[in-house]
Structures are given as C-alpha cells and as structure tokens.
Symmetry: C2
Subunit: 431 residues, 2 copies
C-alpha cells in the first residue's frame, strides 16, 4: 500500500478541464474529473448540429474513452452544486468530495441580461440538447409553414432572427440561411422561396467586433450574399414566440429567435464565497489561482484574466492554455517549485459564413472567402478529439459539400410528448 | 387546369406505407402520405442504436428526401386520430382530409398483455426515442454502479433482463451482453467483470420459435457463449424498476427490463368501426381491402392475412410486399381492372447473435455462425434506404468490427430535466 496521493478535483470536461486533466497524467496525484455529461463537446461545431449538417455523435466524445489509458484519473458524472474552498470539499449529488487542489472549469451559460421574456422562447447554442432543440424546431417550422393557409402565418414560420453578431451569431445565421433555402428548394418546393427570412441583429456598430474592421466588413458582405439581413446598432428587446420587438419599438412576426448575444459564467464560481465580476467570473491571479484560496484554480470562461492587450476572450484556445498552466502549477506547488504566470498566446480567430466562406485573422494575416474556409476546416478537423471522429466528420463534410445537402434533417424527439411542438399546435389552432 | 385526380391517403411511412407510396409514383392519383415522424425508420437495426453501435441518423431517413422526385406525392407530419371509412375522411390535427382510397399502414406497438407494472418501468424497442432511452439508461446504470458502495446494489445496476425470445429479444440480449462486457472492460475497469448479467426470458420451449428447431438450438448456444443466461418456459410477471418477479414467484434484483415479448396493432384500425382481432389487426380480404369498405386497404403489422402456411408474420418483408400489392390494387380499381390477391413470398428469416454470429433460414437453407452473420450484414446493408446511409453504416460497422468498440456511447438527453435519471437519483439516495 502506498501513501494516499494528493487529490485534484477538476470540475468540467470542456476544453479547459479536459486539458488540465490530460496535463496531470504524469503528476503524482489522483485526479477526479467531474462533468454533468459523460461526453466532451466540441463546441465550435455545435451550430453545425443545429442545422443538421453534422449528427451530434460526431462532435461529442465519451470522456471515459478519452481517459481510458490515464491510470491516475477517475471520472464521475455529476452536477457540482458548490465548492467550499475553506473546508476544501466539492459538493455534488448530496455528498462531499474532499480535495487538496481544485481546478474549476465550469464554463459559461447564455446571458439574457434583463430580457425576461427571451429565455422562455429563444433558442441558445450552448449544449447538444439545445442545438437539437433548435434543429427540430426549424424543421417543425417548415412543416407548420406547409400546413399554414394564411400567407402571413406561413412567412412568420419561416422568419428566423439571430441576436448577437459575434462568431456564434454570424456562424449560425449563415448556416441557418443556407440550410433553410436549401431545404425549401429541395424538400418544400411548394413554399415560395421569398418566404425564408434570416435576420441578424447586432447591438454594436459591426459584426465580429473582436475581428479587424476589414474582416467585419467582409463577413457582413458574405452574410448578405447568402441571404442574411444584417442589422447593426439594433437590440432585441423581447420575443414571445411569435412577435419579436426591437429596442427601437419596431416589431415583426418571427417563428424563431436564436440568442447568441452574450454569455456569463455558470453559477459555480459564485458559490466559492469570493468576489466575482458582473458576468460571474473570478478575477484570478496570473498563476490562475484564486486570490483567497491558493489551492483553488479557475480556468476557461469562468476565469477573468486581464492582460495589457485586454481581457483574455472566452474561447476554446485560451481555455486550453489555461487548463495546461493550472495543471502545471498544481504540479509545481506539489514539488515546491515556484508557480508560473499564464501567458496567453493568441492563435488567431476565425468564423465561417455559410458553406464556403470564412474570415480568419491569424498572427496579423487576414484571410477571407473560400481560402479562409479551407483554413477553418483544416484547423477544426485537426482539433477534433479522436481519430474516428475526425474521419467521419470529414466524410460527412465532403459529402455535404459535394452533394450540398444536410446529412440528417430528421426530427428526433426523445420525449414523445414533444412531438406536437408548440409551433405545430399553434398552427393547428390558427387554421 | 386539369380535373382533380383521385386522392390516396397513406397512413404510416414504415415499410408498408413507404412501398405503397413508391409503387403509386406513376399512377394517376394524388398521394398524401402521413406519418407522425418526418423520417422512415429502418427498424431491423433499431437494437443497434440501443447499444450505441449505430448513431440514430444512420437508420432514419427523411421522408421528404425519399420522395423528393415523386411529383404526385405530398407528405404531412401528423398523428392520425381516426379514419372514418363511411364518410371517407382521415381525421388528424383537428382537421378532416377526404380520400378516395386509403392505405393504412400504421404498424404495431408493444403489447404488455396484462402486466400493469411493466409499461411504467420497462424499455421497448419500437422507435428511435425508445432505443435512445435504453442506451442512455444502460450507460447511466454503469455510472450508478461505479458510484454504488454496496456490492448487491452494484450488481443490480448491471443486471439486465430481456423478456421475449423472438428475433428482437435475441438480438437485443446478444448485443447488450456484448456491449456491457466490452464497456466494462474498456471504460469501467474498476467494476468486477462478473457483475454484468444479461438474462433472456422466453415463455415457450425455445427461442426463435418461428425458426427451424436446429437454428433455435444454435442461437441459444451462441447466446450462452457471449454471456446471456437463457431461460425458456419462463414468464416475466412484474417489474418495479428494481425487482423483477417471474410467474414462478422467483424474483431477482435488476436495473433494466427490455420488453420484447409481444406486439399488437396500433389503435388506428379499431377506429374504423369494423371488427379487429384480439391483437387489434384487421382480417383483410386477399386483395388487402377491408371486407366492409373496399376503398380502405390495410397492410403491414396491422393487417391479418391468413394463408395455408399460417398467418403472415409481422415483419418488414411481408409489409413491403403488401404495400406493393395494395398500391397496385388501387391502380387496378381506378382502371377498372380486376384486383389481384396478395401472395406472400417468404424471403427467409434471420437474427444476429452478438457481433459475429447469426442464424438464417432462407428457402429451406439453414446457416449459422459467422457465415450467417455475413449474409445478415449484406442483406441489411442492401436494404438500407439511401446511398449515403449505406456507406456510412458500413464504415461504422467495419470500424466497430475491427476495433471492437461502440461508436458513440454518449448520454444525450434532449430534456435537461432527465439528466438526473431515476437510477442516478436512486443511487444517490441509497448511498
């Protein structure tokens, strides 16, 4: 029997938590990785699931498979309720798990700000169930449109608004516009092509505000070309499932609102009993430790790291880099070595616009259009976890690209009760 | 403007309805095809989805895609409430659709006979949501077993009973046994291998009662070899989610019961106002018309066709053949030609037992073991609708076969509320 090794609890198996767990594979510790799902989600491609371009299984990878060979790691599927940094326990499923070190990577959730009506009716793209709900809803809208007698109703079913002009909003608006026009042309020829409307609302002066201005302009142009109506300086005020109202007071009929206008940290950091910022994040030390509890690290979307170049963005690459640094610092602390400061290496940013255009800004180099799409495709395929996923995703994409059709636009309700969706019921009631 | 053409309403896009709709593609009629889902399900492979060997999208094909080029066909997604053969209307979604001819192919549902407790706790394999629920439940049982302190509890989570020794029961028992042992070995090495138990209960004297006796014996032997405990002459009496009680009074702890012990027709035929048999089926004329209403045809699992060789079984091949005959008879009736009698051509029966064995009986030739599995694989791949599905399924199978691991064992709850499944909650309560 060897002496018990220090226990490192990692909360969240997103990009940050996964990388931290991996980086500890040779450390003399017992790692307990906890996530509410049994899979790691490749979130950058989530919008592709929502437009039926990829099946869910191809962007979700079972956590136990990933860590099959890592002997010092245990995985538990559970929802962590809170972390008590004073008693050094993680509370989950009614029981308390003690830790020597904790790396918190709980990620972020959608922020609806003060729009009380929106969470009830809008779709979000933060997890697989959400992406599938949006996919099912879009196809149900088409079925409802086919069944609608009133042309105004019909148009409303085919009007999709996207709030938020960041990468997620831009990608989903482009993909949805292409999906709907393609679906209409191929599977619903009875519907007038002009009925499909996709509107993108951005509160600021330009889409992709974090990108160089020239790329914002190129993205907006590409969006318009594939049928997206881009509205900047426009805020969505409310949505009741049928009518969308803008801050300006203007309103329009729409069957769908996708909310991609903001994120905030999950409620977990707030349970630590230490200060969090207005979006729920913990301002961590350069070592990624919390100021108050050096055994507790926070990484990814839940960590606020300010650098001379600005706050590190809530994206996958910084989360991965933070996860690695936090893991190394746990090992440093255990070995009595000085901890290292996190230094963010910006790999560049990119966003796709529909099926064959993208914008990318990589180390000062700006690429647009089809070449950027090829770069985007390559980067994402290389990042996908697991060899099998990589080839199957590639086959699927190649197929879609050549034959130009979504892979599996089926409505798949796990819950039979949801078969008669709100939209279909409403449609029946109106006709 | 041409004169309105006769309307043929087809209810159900399973094997029978799909074939009927296709067979009417050149007939001078307007076809309205109605199904509650927007996809056709390749039901013979459904059990493969339940063991995570195939993702759902690979056995479901969008109906609008299938009929994209069939100009005389309209598809509607709706639940048909009843059919009024006197007024010649189909009632769905609150509205009435008039028809000149109706081909009813509503299929079958699970029959629980008088076991009142079973529907609440057992899993069934009749549709995709059901298969996914079973898959999620099995993986949750493993997660619960990992968390269980009591060895009796742990074993109970890993005990799976299958009721019914027909092809579905045999296939799911074999596949589940292989999946669980494989999962345990690879992803849950902390669990004792002996804890996995798969029990198959058959009320009659042998499994696969419809097959020749030598194949039943071969199937039972193959099942035992891959770890299935086969109990014939044994009826399941009740199941409360934790304890399974047999008709004999014997009981055991089990986390899962899969019910594959019987089917009956959906409630639709009973709405016709004509006699149905004890399993809800309509005894149709040799022409597949109902005796009382010659404009109404019934095909597939909902039709009872008695031949000198016995009642035609509730399977895909007879459903397809009936769909074709019914469509031809609609065309015959319209053209004033005599109707033809349905003549069932038995293509043989087969069932897989786990990953590399099967039994098949084809025109008197009996094959067992690996050769039968190859035949089974080939027949099913060739039958799969759509070229893309065929190659992707093949890639997946080849992958699984070579690397011996399930393709995507992720727990995917569309409903976030279902995250904490009953089993996990129970487990937490007990520990």
């Amino acid at each position: 029997m060897s002496a018990p090794r220090p226990r490192v609890v990692i909360v969240g198996a997103g990009f940050g938590g996964l990388e931290a767990a991996r980086a500890l594979r040779r450390a003399p510790v017992d790692v307990l990785l906890v996530d509410r799902h049994n899979y790691h989600l490749f979130q950058p491609l989530l919008y592709q699931v929502s437009v039926a371009a990829l099946p869910p299984s191809e962007i979700a990878y079972p956590i136990r498979s990933i860590f099959r060979r890592q002997r010092n790691l245990t995985f538990r599927i559970a929802e962590v309720e809170r972390v008590d940094p004073v008693r050094r326990v993680v509370v989950m499923g009614g029981s308390e798990i003690p830790f020597d070190y904790a790396i918190l990577a709980p990620g972020s959730v959608t922020s609806f700000f003060d729009n009380a009506s929106i969470p009830r009716h809008a779709f979000e793209l933060k997890d697989l169930p959400g992406a599938l709900r949006l996919r099912n809803h879009l196809i149900r809208c088409f079925e409802a449109a086919i069944g609608a007698d009133d042309p105004i109703e019909r148009q409303a079913f085919l009007t999709i608004a996207v709030a938020g002009g960041g990468p997620t909003g831009v990608e989903v608006a482009g993909a949805v516009s292409e999906l709907l026009r393609r679906l209409l042309r191929r599977d619903y020829p009875a519907l007038p092509a002009g009925d499909v409307r996709v509107l993108l609302y951005e509160g600021g002066p330009r889409v992709l505000a974090a990108f160089p201005e020239s790329l914002s302009a190129a993205a907006a142009k590409s969006l318009v070309r594939i049928g997206v109506e881009v509205h900047t300086h426009t805020l969505v005020e409310s949505f009741d499932g049928h009518t969308l109202t803008l801050r300006s007071g203007e309103s329009l009929r729409a069957g769908t609102l996708v909310w991609a206008a903001g994120v905030r940290a999950t409620p977990l950091p707030a349970t630590l009993g230490i200060p969090v910022d207005s979006t729920g994040r913990v301002a961590v030390l350069p070592t990624l430790q919390t100021r108050e509890h050096p055994e507790v690290f926070v990484v990814g979307d839940a960590a606020r790291v300010d650098t001379p170049g600005g706050t590190v963005p809530a994206q996958a690459p910084p989360a991965i880099q933070m996860g690695r640094t936090a893991a190394r610092n746990v090992a440093n602390a255990l070995a009595g070595r000085p901890l290292e400061a996190f230094a963010y290496k910006d790999p560049g940013t990119m966003a796709t616009i529909g099926r064959k255009a993208a914008v990318a800004s990589i180390h000062g180099i700006r690429i647009t259009g089809f070449p950027a799409w090829i770069v985007w495709l390559f980067v994402h395929l290389m990042q996908l976890v697991g060899f099998r996923n990589r080839i199957v995703v590639f086959v699927d994409w190649a197929w879609q690209y050549v034959f130009y059709r979504p892979a599996s636009p089926i409505i798949l309700s796990i819950d039979e009760e949801t078969l008669h969706s709100k939209v279909l019921d409403d449609s029946a009631r109106r006709t």
